[in-house]
């Protein structure tokens, strides 16, 4: 049913776009009184008679590319006769009228189709970026706790360590990179699922501390890469307090 809903939305969108594109198109089969006085929004007809153009002469025949009537010309009876003689079927005009719009019922049908398709595909839960989460039943708490523990461990390891700056720096870079591509990436990937479960407002509240925590971890990485280990530690300290706040928020949200 969801697949059907998806295809219904696609087909309806295509039909809707096609119907919309005909909004300023008028058929020459309409009675003259409905057409006279309108203004051309696109050229109409050709200087060369269409029936003569089946065997184009060698070289460019510019008359075939020359329209009979230019943009802005008012439609009158003589024009209509000349265009009908050339078997022209449609005109693009500047004025829109609901009653002249040939695609209006298709447009309405397309709109209904999209709404029905939405109803059928309701169980689908894409993120705003259109990604359907592959993670199922994801629990963020273990990842947040793991982040907290690792950050605490890194702080302990770098405090008054006897190791050289180079080795400490590499250690920090490696461990922080693991966090970035592990726990933090999983939390980011689970965004759609978390929003579906918690609601957007609750998720937004969660990011009040989770996003700064991630940013501080990123800062710890950048400053470590530049050898500014003390600042890296300060960032880790800030990340730790934000992670604690995140853990508490998760607990309160259940």
């Amino acid at each position: 049913m969801r697949t059907f809903g998806f295809w219904l939305i696609c087909l309806s969108a295509a039909a809707g776009v096609l119907a919309a594109a005909s909004a300023y198109l008028v058929s020459l089969s309409l009675p003259d009184e409905q057409l006279e006085g309108l203004t051309l929004a696109a050229p109409a007809g050709t200087q060369a008679a269409l029936e003569d153009s089946e065997d184009p002469p060698a070289g460019d025949d510019l008359s075939q590319r020359e329209p009979l009537y230019e943009v802005g010309t008012k439609v009158d009876a003589a024009m209509l006769q000349a265009l009908r003689d050339q078997s022209v079927e449609n005109l693009r005009v500047k004025e829109f009228a609901w009653e002249r719009w040939r695609g209006k019922w298709w447009f309405i049908l397309a709109a209904v189709g999209m709404l029905v398709g939405a109803r059928l595909g309701k169980s689908r839960s894409p993120t705003s970026a259109g990604r359907v989460q592959a993670v199922s039943g994801y629990d963020p708490r273990p990842d947040v706790e793991s982040l907290e523990n690792t950050v605490r461990e890194l702080l302990a390891k770098t405090e008054g360590s006897a190791e050289s700056i180079a080795s400490l720096k590499q250690y920090l870079l490696d461990r922080l990179h693991e966090l970035q591509s592990g726990e933090l990436a999983r939390l980011a990937d689970a965004r759609g699922e978390l929003i579906e479960r918690m609601g957007l407002s609750a998720y937004a509240q969660l990011t009040e501390s989770l996003a700064p925590a991630e940013r501080h971890i990123n800062r710890a990485w950048s400053t470590a890469a530049d050898g500014a280990l003390e600042e890296s530690r300060a960032s880790l300290q800030q990340a730790l307090s934000e992670l604690a706040a995140t853990r508490e928020r998760l607990a309160s949200l259940g």
Partner: protein, 700 residues
């Protein structure tokens, strides 16, 4: 040999907002601004400056000065892009005045810039500040909560992180940059070569490249005629494969296009051609699967709507199959796409309201606590916005009260051929006294900037494409409707300010994404952008005037100060050169498109129904699938399909690599490579446009 350091004390203190970073950022930004202004006026689109700013920042701060920390270079690139980016908004709008009525716009009799020039500069600077001030409160929503991708922001972060990411990743990034430059070279180089003097040695390069080492592939040749009776058949078949009229089949692989449709023999109304654009490929890769919705929009417009409309006889009979894509873009793809974009953005904003509320609540809380907030406070932003609105009002009001000569209807002013008689009409606000009307327009403009800024930032965040040209057209139309169709100058002034604002908004969000990924403190980046982005418009405007003066000399031989300004009383042509547009080296394609729209509005030709239908479809797509779908589909309906297809290939490669090697591998190794492609093209474009600009000035 120095003994190893044995404590965790820092070898150096980390630096972030430093004078060298700010000064070099301004210098780099000013250089990029001038170069990109010139390139944009030639080719019709601009290059973002962040990646180039990051690379040059590394080169100068780290390479030459032996300093430059990651966060410091981030500030350098933030400043550089803040100074550079307003050029997009300016060059898509302001040059239209040069096309319509250049004598009055550019110089007074004694050669000094006119008041209009200064007021435009003031309005654009006000717009730049307004764009930044309005988008800053949405950082939390777009980056922390929505987690928009911002591919170029990710690419810049990859560059910034390269010193700590390990040598192998740096090689991957450099390989991407190199490949991007090599692939883009045949696209960019001919533009320079054709500007060189005929006898130049470099001019021979093109001949050598095409005659001795021709990599290009011609399309299938029709069978030669066997007898005179067969000549008509040959002419017809040749006409089908020769659209440029050189009596040779067009190329399948040219400098900038791989025409697979021609290769496979698809009908001409189905333009299956891929742009040779490393930037688009890289951006597609970095975006990944979500970018497929952009591809879907392109497919819908160019492979469903246009061919069906052509088959059903909806185009004039004089339109050939190969012209369908171009004709349909202005006839219905663009208004439908822009409408869809607006509808999609509207539904997206409604859906995001909870997160916007949460973001504002967070800001408010931080402002109240008054300590240690990482975000710029609401008070500062309100003050900046009020000052900018006041600047905008002053510029609009001064222009109206001190420079009452309206630009004559474009048809009389030497614009393109107009088929309809210009129909001057009063704007919706024409009945108001001028001061109140200008104040109201400044306020409406501010509201539109907020909405437009969100749309552009969302588009850039999701796809890396910025619908600035479409928004520029819509903005000018909106202001003309408000102020009256004869008020082209005032409309362009407000429109230019709005366009500058929305480009600055998108760029700022991109820089903040980069900052998030390297751990920068948002407040510092925000302060820098807010303080320095106003420098951009004067640089762009000065470059614009310089280019106009050079073009006028080159096309008339008359020195610029001798140009007589045209008054409103006379529309008689004065014997001067052309400042811009067809026949000059800077054709300003976007300004020409805008001129056509202005002429259309003056002729009463606004396809309201198409905008309306597009908006309804955008809203419905948002309701039916997910809120931003209308934005993604609408955006790609009027962009050139060749770029959309290349971008789509990037998305598909990402999906394939993720399936083959795993999502983490794709992110770890693929993204730096994709980032390299983006940066390579931007870097080469900038260098070549700089060279081109110098050569042009030397020639003139």
């Amino acid at each position: 040999m120095a003994s190893p350091q044995t404590s965790a004390q820092p070898a150096t203190a980390s630096r972030e907002t430093t004078w060298p970073a700010i000064i070099f950022g301004i210098l780099i930004g000013a250089l990029m601004n001038a170069s990109i202004t010139y390139a944009g006026l030639k080719i019709g689109f601009t290059i973002g400056g962040s990646a180039v700013g990051a690379i040059l920042g590394f080169g100068i701060l780290r390479g030459l000065l032996r300093q430059g920390h990651i966060l410091e270079i981030n500030i350098c690139q933030t400043v550089a892009s803040a100074v550079n980016i307003p050029n997009s908004g300016v060059i898509f709008t302001v040059p239209v005045l040069l096309l319509i009525d250049h004598e009055r716009f550019a110089f007074t009799q004694d050669g000094a810039p006119t008041p209009l020039f200064w007021m435009l500069t003031l309005a654009c600077s006000a717009g730049a500040i307004l764009g930044c001030a309005f988008i800053i409160p949405l950082r939390k929503q777009m980056i922390d909560i929505e987690r928009l991708r911002f591919p170029t922001g990710v690419a810049v972060a990859a560059i910034l992180k390269s010193p700590g990411a390990g040598i192998r990743k740096t090689y991957v990034l450099l390989a991407g940059i190199l490949l991007g430059m090599v692939v883009y070279l045949p696209v960019a180089l001919p533009e320079i070569i054709k500007n060189l003097p005929e006898k130049s040695t470099f001019r021979k390069l093109e001949t050598v490249a095409y005659e001795r080492f021709d990599w290009r592939l011609p399309g299938p040749q029709p069978a030669a005629p066997n007898n005179p009776d067969d000549a008509a058949r040959y002419a017809r078949e040749l006409q089908d494969v020769d659209h440029d009229g050189d009596d040779e089949p067009d190329l399948i692989l040219s400098n900038d296009l791989l025409d697979v449709g021609r290769w496979w023999g698809l009908p001409d109304e189905i333009p299956l051609a891929f742009a040779i654009a490393p930037f688009a490929l890289g951006a597609g890769y970095v975006t990944g699967r979500a970018g497929l919705f952009v591809l879907a929009g392109g497919v819908l417009a160019y492979f469903v709507l246009n061919p069906v409309a052509f088959a059903w006889g909806w185009f004039p009979v004089t339109v050939e199959a190969s012209e369908v894509a171009n004709v349909s873009r202005s006839a219905f793809n663009r208004p439908l796409g822009i409408g869809m974009l607006l509808g999609g953005a509207l539904i997206g904003m409604l859906a995001s309201l909870p997160s916007v509320r949460a973001a504002f609540a967070g800001l408010g809380k931080a402002s109240k606590s008054g300590r240690g907030s990482d975000e710029l406070g609401i008070g500062v932003l309100v003050l900046a916005a009020l000052l900018a609105i006041a600047g905008l009002y002053f510029a609009a009001d001064y222009l109206e009260t001190h420079d009452t000569s309206n630009v004559p209807p474009a048809a009389e002013a030497g614009g393109e051929a107009v088929d309809a008689e210009p129909a001057e009409s009063d704007g919706w606000l024409s009945a108001l006294p001028s001061h109140w009307r200008n104040l109201l327009i400044a306020l409406i403009g501010a509201a539109w900037i907020w909405f437009g800024g969100i749309i552009i930032a969302q588009c850039t965040g999701m796809t890396d494409w910025s619908p600035i040209s479409g928004m520029a057209l819509l903005t000018i139309v909106l202001v003309m409707l408000l102020t009256g169709t004869q008020n082209v100058t005032g409309s362009v002034l407000i429109g230019a300010a709005m366009c500058v604002a929305i480009t600055c908004a998108a760029d700022m969000m991109q820089d903040l994404k980069t900052g998030y990924m390297v751990g920068a403190i948002p407040k510092r980046q925000q302060s820098m952008e807010l303080l320095l982005t106003g420098l951009g418009p004067p640089i762009t405007m000065a470059t614009l005037i310089l280019i106009a003066a050079t073009n006028m000399r080159a096309t008339s031989g008359e020195p610029v100060p001798e140009v007589e300004p045209r008054t409103a009383q006379t529309t008689e042509e004065v014997a001067t050169g052309k400042p811009m547009g067809p026949g000059t080296k800077t054709e300003a394609p976007q300004a020409q498109a805008l001129q056509a729209v202005i002429l259309g509005v003056q002729g009463g030709d606004i396809p309201y129904a198409l905008y309306g239908c597009g908006s309804v479809l955008g809203v419905l797509l948002g309701v039916a699938a997910f809120p931003s779908l209308g934005v993604l589909i609408g955006l790609s309906m009027y962009l050139p399909i060749a770029y959309i297809l290349t971008y789509g290939v990037g998305c598909l490669i990402n999906m394939f690599v993720s399936w083959w090697k795993g999502a983490r591998w794709s992110e770890e190794w693929g993204v730096p490579f994709g980032a390299g492609l983006i940066v390579g093209e931007a870097l080469l474009s900038l260098v070549l446009s700089g060279v081109d600009q110098i050569l042009s000035f030397l020639q003139a």
